[in-house]
Point group: C2
Chain length 267, copies 2
């Protein structure tokens, strides 16, 4: 079952995904370090935005990065090689049909993947099969419902809701961050600990105004304009006004808040 | 100008305010410590829920706690005395008409006060007058729009919106947390730094499920039921269903998220 993704592969999208990881890298990944020699599965590596960060943070670990999309895998391999990381193997594979023996990996990592899956618990159970007993799983997801800002704007909120609705229409769930705890429990993981990572932006942090509010979040909203307008979720004029309001949150008096959730658990 | 407050003085409300401070004390107040001998103004001390924490954290500082309500001041004085703190003076006074000379205090502190004021910048300017140059102001506020939870429920969100609407109807602003940065800048403070304090609750934290989700947040929502129903904001049946849904976020599979904002700045 191949699905269209909200995160596409246009040049801008690809650069956005990397921008996002680079800007947020410290917040999201600083505490993910794998011991030398350990076998780590990155499930759904996409274009490799997180793969290079994982490899940089854990120089002695051996990574296996999988994705269903050959096109993504190709981009990921190029990125990882160009940055000089050697210990990453790339396999085209589906999380729901993993070509590995039971208890093959020491650790499993996935980031911005569950949000796209119609049945995240099934995916977590499949990943659990290939994880050793006592091994860790680390899951990072956003939650678009965690977004708020000043000045507030019903039009801006409606544009964000389009993103939520479009992803839901494709079987995904962009409100999944808040659900990591019950999802990991339902998939029989133990010692589940969820750590929220809030991005709070005001004009005292110009690098986040540019790197997060504008070039990550608003860019993502702008990326679904055609889908939102074509499918009748919003009139083009209202959409444009909503996005203009979102940009006001990046002004000197504006503030912008978004939260990612990082779950860690054991098998 | 005397106003009715959303936070009333019933026994349950009073105990809720104290529960809240006790449960959240560490998260909100751990980094507020005043040097011995310094004069600190607590503006809008209410029933003294924060006053006792301030006094405990800064044993050598001299506190002046003011409130417009004699009833609140009486409760605050009783609470502070009963816990053995001596160095707190209580004055009945209005923030907009402070009975102190210019640059009288070394520091100013206020918590859950600006949310009730129709003109928070005016209040911040009045407080700035009595603050010494180089002295700090610390402001803590919630933001009801920061609330989200699992399972999500439009009815529960509507009940929370009643709280926002009722407070707005009384000239307050329960979405003020996200605005602390621009408010402090507008009131001419410098070196403004806002630090969000997220309360993330899942069933691995039973003390927060009870102490925050149920006994602080849901209790606060339940406190405006009569106003919400009487004023026609919500039908009683819908209200009850919304509150029932809120309680589901405190179940084993539920999660609940709320964020306070702590601003610190200099004159």
């Amino acid at each position: 079952m191949e699905k269209k993704y909200v995160h596409g592969f246009t040049a801008r999208e690809s650069s956005r995904l990397v921008d996002q990881a680079t800007t947020l890298a410290e917040v999201l990944h600083f505490d993910t370090v794998y011991e030398a020699g350990s076998d780590v599965l990155e499930a759904g590596c996409g274009v490799g935005a997180q793969t290079v960060i994982l490899a940089r943070n854990s120089p002695g670990a051996k990574f296996t990065a999988i994705d269903r999309s050959e096109e993504s895998l190709h981009a990921a391999r190029e990125r990882v090689s160009s940055q000089g990381f050697a210990d990453v193997a790339f396999h085209q594979a589906d999380i729901l049909n993993l070509p590995y023996a039971d208890e093959y990996f020491d650790h499993v990592f996935l980031c911005f993947v569950l949000e796209h899956l119609p049945n995240p618990v099934e995916a977590l159970l499949c990943l659990r099969r290939v994880l050793k007993r006592g091994g860790t799983i680390t899951v990072i997801e956003g939650d678009h419902g965690s977004t708020y800002f000043h000045p507030d704007s019903p039009g801006a909120r409606k544009a964000i809701q389009c993103l939520v609705d479009i992803q839901a229409g494709m079987g995904g769930n962009s409100l999944i961050g808040r659900q990591l705890y019950p999802l990991l429990k339902k998939a029989k993981y133990v010692d589940v600990h969820v750590s929220p990572r809030m991005i709070y932006v005001d004009s005292s942090k110009p690098e986040l105004v540019e790197g997060f509010t504008k070039n990550t979040f608003i860019a993502m909203v702008e990326g679904v304009k055609d889908q939102a307008v074509r499918s009748g979720l919003m009139e083009e004029r209202d959409w444009d006004r909503g996005v203009r309001d979102l940009y006001k949150t990046a002004d000197e008096d504006g503030t912008f808040i978004y939260t990612f959730f990082k779950g860690k658990a054991l098998k």
